[in-house]
Symmetry: D2
Subunit: 366 residues, 4 copies
């Protein structure tokens, strides 16, 4: 109820603050027999970790994960998997000056209102540092989904501030600091970021994440729809302000004769639905877009108040990402993996018998 | 786990199909002592019910609600509130012809893949008819939120297909068939809809819903953020394909110096956050937008397949809303009420002691 | 959170008061394709219903169940099953005199302390009338467990007050008003009850419930153990004060060399465990005992207080079971069915792949 | 759903195996502002830890706890509290010989059936070693309950095998290795245990746990009754086979005129209910008894099977408690604290407004 557990059957229970001794989580509900080692998880953590380019925070965290339980002789046992990541590079003194003040656009104020006080060091629990455990847990879900069903999850940056990033090739994504599916545009992105940093400002971004190989039938009516839980997962990522499935907001101006994806024995003719109908997967590619707001912690001086409610000026020191969207791609991929894994288990719980009766509908489409 | 219960502490467990004998729900967790009668609920149901204008489905349903439990001598007792709405105007024969076929853009196909077969009468469980119980349950949450905290929830249509609807006055909203906050534009909307029906097509819409009077401190980090659960609630409404909080997708191109709402002793200077920071309410107005796709059931002939996977043409008979967005406003209001009610209870469970220590931060802003 | 939903994957959400218009529930998570009609449920309700002998309450309730949803063309669809039972024979006036007083040993006082006031008519929500919906929901679980796995659930009265009831034959159970597995002892039980009623008193009972055919591997470490959830289910039945699994309290004085059930290729040599080890089923018969306290509502005059905290004498009028244990057998069977059904689904969610690899251990024992 | 999280609003999510690198948990839902340090938790862990007398396992574990999150400047922040206990004294080689066999009365067999294989080192996840984290989490609940409500929780051994232990004085409990509330009987208990060890056998025990100062009104009808969740909590402790509330199984032979506790303006006249009526606390002392079976791992040779289903003889080497009941008292106290804490939060979530209106019923009894 306190909002630190994600999922229903495949659950991630997260703990840890930005400047505490460690962050970590308990992953429960993983099926037994999955081959798993720390390297499987570390590979994903390394894609998200800070300090990898001049365009992200310079905090140095190796984000080394330790598996504390749930794996025996290289395989998951079906018991909970404890994951631990020690914090290495806290500089809490950078934050002393904001202990008593609230940064515009930051969770400082809301946390203080909720809890009466807050751990102000690096944003405490509200810091995006917590997303490292989502990536770690997501790596487990991702491995199982791929081995068991051939599900492939892939995300990228589709806009950096005002710059739209046309999709050219998935191969380009891991070849640049922005997860841009387009090598040619990278110099423009770098120039934009260099100028942005000099202006002591930050900017938003748009991320797209997709999944292929998802079998039809995953998702639950009427509230826990697959798209509803994807929206919950993505809007739950720090700084996300909008989520779209398939055609998203373009659906507003579409006609039914355009939006409704026709079906043929060879498959769907289009994918405005983004792979979900009635909250349940159709077997098409799942397509999700999300809007990420600009970092709230900037070095420009801005109007705010202090704990006494008095007017002050605040400029945020310390190390921050000028565009939190840059590191959001691995996080979004992880969250999609967690949602899909949960629904894979939910589906076989209720419909395990239906699953044995295949094919339910003949032809490629099924 | 099967997705028919909404909420954590204030829960709505829904049942019923479009053409079954009844729909209804169990509302659990309502605090004792709330004055409640059927008229309180009926008033909201009447705003959503079908057949109220030529622009919506002509199915005639009085949507009369019966309170079966949880209320004694006019007050809620703290025990579960059973709500029942009998279906009156089924015409199942209209649907015999789609029993074996799948409508493009409809849940027919996904349900059949998930469950192995489906109740095809009027869409069965996938029909938006189920949203009547959300409105009924939401009416209870809404009444409690208003009486206990003065929360006021208000929604409207902000676009009908390609037509943007500028906000003029809240007073206009209940004065037209579209929930448009703008009387002058109504003739244009009516002309558009009349033309649309003649073309045997359907169209999308954009809905905005807001809440004022929400105290600061509601919402849970890190997964059950208030905005994440709003996204889950709205994306869980039939036909919704996108959700925005505050600046939403406009955040992508914004700078931090623009997006981050400055604070003064007199309050926030702007509201790009849409009333939520770090997943927790700030006390500002909560602002949500959603995109609603065009109705999938249209009378035009379209390509599809049947259960045998063979190519067919399908044109949908029966009574359908040419724009499901028209009746979505009361549903979106109800879902926002349910999310806020749930978080009101969650907040006092964990922070009940903090709540007694007021003001936490001096001045108007707190 | 308000305690009216039972189960995790197969859930029963209950509503209704003793003297309200109706009681009922929503059963969610039932697999699709189960043949189900009202007669399947009614048969179990008839075993529990009041007024069937002079030894139980004379309230006349047909307890006729209506299926409102989730079944189409005689089969469950996988969507929630709404069940409704109208109350027929309320006599609320019988209870006016206790509106302001508390019965010794009754929930009156605790409910008033919790909620601030209560629906006093026939005990309102605290009445065992609510258990009718457990029996109705249990009938669905029981049918699925039997058809899918051959699980057979059977309960009986093993003691009526001071009278131990030796198990003679299961065939006798439904042949008498007490669910006694022993026809010869029935006259003694009837004589005891006739004398008890004349003395205006009530008495306790002991119920035993068993399940055969449960596959090994159902149950979850470490908190949701199968035995822990059975204890929760049984202690949650009105008037139950104690629960035992297998040897139960006899285990206290046993040696490990006696209690630990030896295993052979032909099966287990004994069953002190009662079919559960480490919280997980072993494939042996599950054996549960429960203690049921005497009815608190008796016609003898007893010391109590009123809402003003003043000393009073109270004697309870109205119609009551002199031994609530007599009708408890079908309820206990239903609760065991609900727990087993839930764990059957939980098992295949996490271990669905293991299940396909059979036999895991060769020989009869597996 | 995989059963490693305890509680609804105050949750403990546990991980770790007996011979893995560490055990630990995440405690979520703790109210902010509670003074908390590692010493508060360590004190309870030290009461449970192994190796403190010749009558328990000789495994040497300091059970040193580290708080990883959720505490800032000596106070809980309202965010999740991560707790870590490193394992120090594994001797996995002791267990190589049971990798392929099943111990009579042990979870070995059930785990293998459920998961397909198991971590056999020291029982892996099924080991009572996991209960250390329950004690750690319980220490937090216990401190909050005492500071906020004055709740005092106390447990003791009420029988060791065939030896009943009359309650003499609570002061004696922590003065002996058995948690016996009776110093005079300790020599008899020691003699019994010395003889038992020589016989290479184990024995059961009976534990009693109580809570005073619990306000009336905690608990939820109809399924999550306070007594039902206590039964779930206690039956979920390794080796527990029976649970009683108040009069427990003595209720079977009681008359209503004896069992029903009379009320006076000065309070209840008796406490057969054990402090719970209708599943809700009455303000009286909560009284719980539990039966603990004898340790299944004994050095005597017994009949069993191996993974191939072949008949074998097994005698368990390694270090084991000859009576697991001896160390069960702190565990039972912790579980009662966890249940009460959860219901304290649940109560104020739903009935927070009622709580402000006191006294609900005048006089000492309220």
């Amino acid at each position: 109820m306190s909002g630190n557990t994600f999922g229903t059957l495949f659950t991630v229970t997260s703990f840890g603050e930005s400047h505490g001794p460690a962050i970590g989580c308990v992953v429960d509900g993983c099926p037994p027999g999955l081959a798993l080692c720390e390297a499987d998880i570390q590979a994903e953590l390394d894609r998200r970790k800070p300090g990898t380019s001049r365009h992200v925070t310079q905090r140095r965290e190796p984000d080394t994960v330790e598996i504390l339980s749930g794996v025996f002789e290289g395989k998951t046992t079906g018991t909970p998997i404890g994951l631990l990541i020690r914090n290495q590079d806290q500089r809490s003194k950078d934050y002393g000056n904001i202990a008593d003040t609230f940064r515009p656009g930051h969770a400082d104020y809301a946390y203080t209102q909720k809890y009466g006080f807050r751990d102000y060091r690096g944003g405490g629990r509200s810091s995006a540092r917590e997303t490292a455990v989502r990536v770690a847990a997501g790596a487990i879900a991702r491995k199982w989904l791929h081995e068991r069903f051939g599900v492939a999850i892939r995300g990228w940056m589709s806009a950096l501030g005002p710059i739209e990033i046309p999709f050219v090739s998935a191969d380009a994504i891991d070849g640049n600091a922005f997860f841009a599916p387009n090598s040619a545009i990278v110099p423009e992105l770098e120039a934009y970021m260099d100028k942005l940093r000099k202006s002591l400002d930050s900017v938003g971004a748009k991320i797209t994440v997709t999944a292929t190989g998802v079998p039809p039938g995953w998702g639950e009516p009427v509230y826990d729809r697959l798209d509803a839980e994807i929206a919950y997962a993505m809007m739950g990522i720090n700084a996300v302000k909008g989520v779209e499935i398939g055609a998203g907001f373009d659906s507003v101006a579409q006609k039914g004769s355009e939006h409704g994806d026709e079906m043929t024995p060879q498959g769907f003719a289009t994918n405005h639905a983004g792979g979900v109908l009635g909250g349940i997967s159709t077997g098409q590619e799942i397509v999700v877009n999300m809007a990420i707001k600009p970092t709230s912690s900037i070095a420009q001086s801005r109007r705010s108040i202090n704990r006494q409610g008095e007017a002050i000026e605040v400029a945020t020191e310390g190390r921050h990402d000028p565009c939190v969207g840059i590191r959001a791609t691995p996080i979004a991929e992880a969250m999609l993996a967690l949602v899909l894994m949960d629904h894979a288990l939910r589906h076989r719980a209720q419909c395990g018998d239906v699953l044995c009766a295949t094919p339910r509908i003949p032809g490629k489409i099924a």
